[in-house]
């Protein structure tokens, strides 16, 4: 639900917040004092759903952030279970540790072998803690690179699923070269001699996302986000006020539509009305269809042509001009 925002971003949000608070109050009342308020609650529910509908019809960037982070949003393991068969998980970077925040696996898509990597967020608190909320350590990125090298060796496509708040900002992560690991992955992916498809499914959080997101094709779920900094972080830096995150979300142009306009994203994969969590199968279906659409051509493209195109794709991103000073 779109509720726990650090500050309402619109009248609709405020209306919805009020309605949800009132519904909750009535529910508690009904429960504690055994009063039948089902009718009143139903009326309010309908009104709340109506407001939600309005929000979903034209969600603000901050709404999209909420959807991208929604606790019920399909996670990597849901996607992998639905999209692939014969999944064999690989573990470890062969250097230091197996990082549960990053998945690496061999699998088949429509019967064809692929290598799957992705940020591995949890679905509940316990799993989230075990998986460090999808925030990898350097060893996570190094595991992913190792798996990508397997893909490269056999010329199997790599499919990378992006969903992370960012690389883990901890002391040990720094000590083991978080920046180096990200830089290395970016460089190696830019010249990996096999097709790479990137699917941004939830939060595309800065360098920690990009470290597995340099490929031939960048697909993005409709309500996923991809950003250089979290809206909260941006607001804190710009206005010293994290509660202006909604405003920052707007400014950062982090939605799929914005990113497509900036040519960072190649294709938007439609989500069901109200977000992927409302109908996970539909969201997964959109991913499946996109992979089916693109994989055959990528598989057949000669490696050198692939690498030229991949280089050109990132080489041209940016907006520069001649200075006026």
């Amino acid at each position: 639900m779109i509720t726990s925002t650090p500050g309402p971003s619109s009248d609709l949000d405020r209306q919805l917040g009020d309605l949800e608070a009132e519904i909750e109050r009535l529910r508690r009342l009904s429960r504690e004092q055994s009063i039948d308020l089902a009718g009143e609650i139903a009326t309010l529910d309908a009104r709340a759903e109506d407001v939600r509908r309005k929000i979903y019809t034209n969600p603000t960037p901050w709404h999209v952030v909420q959807l991208a982070r929604h606790p019920q949003r399909p996670r990597l393991l849901d996607l992998v279970a639905s999209l692939f068969t014969d999944v064999i998980e690989l573990h470890g970077d062969r250097l230091f540790r197996d990082d549960p925040a990053m998945l690496a696996a061999l699998a088949r898509f429509d019967g064809q072998p692929v290598v799957v990597i992705g940020h591995n967020k949890g679905k509940d608190t316990k799993e989230n803690i075990a998986r460090n909320f999808g925030m990898p350590y350097p060893e996570g990125y190094r595991k992913a690179l190792r798996a990508m090298r397997v893909g490269e060796k056999f010329h199997y496509p790599v499919i990378a699923f992006v969903d992370t708040p960012g690389a883990f900002p901890g002391d040990e992560a720094e000590e083991r070269g978080q920046a180096e690991a990200i830089a290395r992955n970016i460089e190696e992916m830019s010249r990996l001699r096999t097709p790479v498809i990137v699917v941004i499914t939830g939060e595309g959080g800065s360098g920690g996302a990009l470290a597995i997101a340099v490929g031939d094709l960048t697909l993005m779920l409709q309500y996923a986000i991809y950003t250089v900094i979290s809206p909260e972080g941006c607001a804190a830096i710009l206005w010293h006020d994290a509660s202006k995150a909604a405003q920052a979300a707007e400014a950062l142009r982090l939605t799929a539509k914005d990113l497509q306009a900036l040519e960072i994203v190649d294709e938007i994969l439609p989500e069901p009305f109200g977000g992927a969590h409302r109908d996970p199968d539909a969201a997964v279906g959109a991913v499946r269809a996109a992979l089916q659409r693109h994989l055959p051509a990528l598989r057949e493209t000669p490696v050198e042509a692939l690498l030229e195109r991949r280089y050109a794709k990132f080489r041209t991103l940016g907006a520069v001009e001649t200075a006026k000073i």
Binding site: G177, T227, C234, A319, V320
Partner: protein
């Protein structure tokens, strides 16, 4: 474009950086240092060896042979692709402050006679942040090095990606790293020097991808900021955390080199990696006239690309 290091703009920048007065106070040891002595000492405190941050232009001046530099893309700057609130003003302020259009200077020149493509990021320009123009200039420098079979040397000093260009800034990590990847594939040397501070997106891209990675003493080097880390781990970090010396022990750097030895060290590395050497250093490097495509690119890439 030549001899720009002597342009009045630079002198005025100098004055701005070091406010008037015979004495300067060292921010680390708080000693008062005779300003002329500090300048003579390459802005390294003679008492405590604190390495003052250098504007890109001064970095190039103390690194390159005199009059050897020719700038690439001097006028290139970031546009405002997101129409980000306040960004044009911030850019203007930075330009006023530094006398430079962007947070990186790139070009070619010689170091002890060794020809190289070189770049220096400017922390004084919006914290050395990497937006489209910084990424573009670094990528072009790498491509120049590749096309002309020259080494690449980059002095970094940056707080990371430039927020105001959103995900386009993030994409500069990919653009620059990909260009460095091609340089590596072409068998050309790339030396990365991290100066205080080098953090965020610049460490997570070209700055850590050198064949040899050097740093100045005491430089802050890391991906995440100290405050964020302390909030995350709910502990205080040791004082030396993320210093160059700390990173050296952790195996992340090849060497920490004092500023007084940096020029000669880079020259020795360039020599080792087979950089072409010009015979007479004092005048304009001869190669320039031989490579017309460079003169072209030097005219400054114009207009937006993305």
């Amino acid at each position: 474009m030549l001899n720009w290091l002597r342009r009045p703009k630079y002198r005025s920048l100098q004055r701005r950086e070091m406010p008037a007065g015979l004495w300067a106070k060292c921010p680390r040891c708080t000693n008062l240092i005779y300003r002329k002595e500090l300048e003579r000492n390459l802005k390294v405190c003679p008492k405590c060896a604190y390495h003052h941050r250098l504007p890109a232009i001064e970095r190039l001046e103390i690194t390159l042979d005199e009059d050897s530099f020719a700038e690439f893309d001097a006028d290139l700057t970031s546009a405002d692709p997101l129409k980000f609130e306040g960004y044009p003003q911030k850019l203007n302020e930075a330009r006023q402050k530094t006398g430079r259009p962007e947070a990186v200077i790139t070009g070619d020149g010689t170091i002890e006679g060794y020809r190289t493509v070189i770049g220096a990021l400017d922390f004084h320009f919006m914290g050395g942040s990497m937006g489209s123009a910084v990424g573009e200039k670094v990528a072009r420098a790498a491509e120049q090095a590749r096309d002309r079979r020259l080494p690449l040397v980059i002095f970094s000093a940056s707080g990371g990606a430039r927020m105001q260009e959103g995900a386009l800034s993030l994409m500069q990590l990919a653009k620059t790293s990909a260009a460095i990847g091609r340089l590596h594939d072409a068998g050309l040397p790339y030396l990365s020097v991290m100066c205080d501070p080098t953090t965020g997106g610049v460490t997570a891209s070209f700055a850590f991808l050198g064949d040899v990675v050097l740093a100045e003493p005491g430089a802050l080097i890391g991906f995440a900021g100290r405050r964020v880390i302390e909030q995350t781990i709910r502990r205080k970090l040791p004082d030396d955390f993320q210093t160059a010396e700390f990173c050296l022990k952790k195996g992340l750097l090849d060497m920490v080199v004092p500023r007084s030895e940096m020029r000669s060290t880079v020259a020795r590395l360039l020599s080792f990696f087979g950089a072409p050497k010009v015979e007479a250093v004092s005048v304009e490097a001869p190669a320039r006239t031989e490579t017309p495509q460079v003169a072209e690119s030097r005219s400054g890439g114009s207009a937006a690309e993305g």
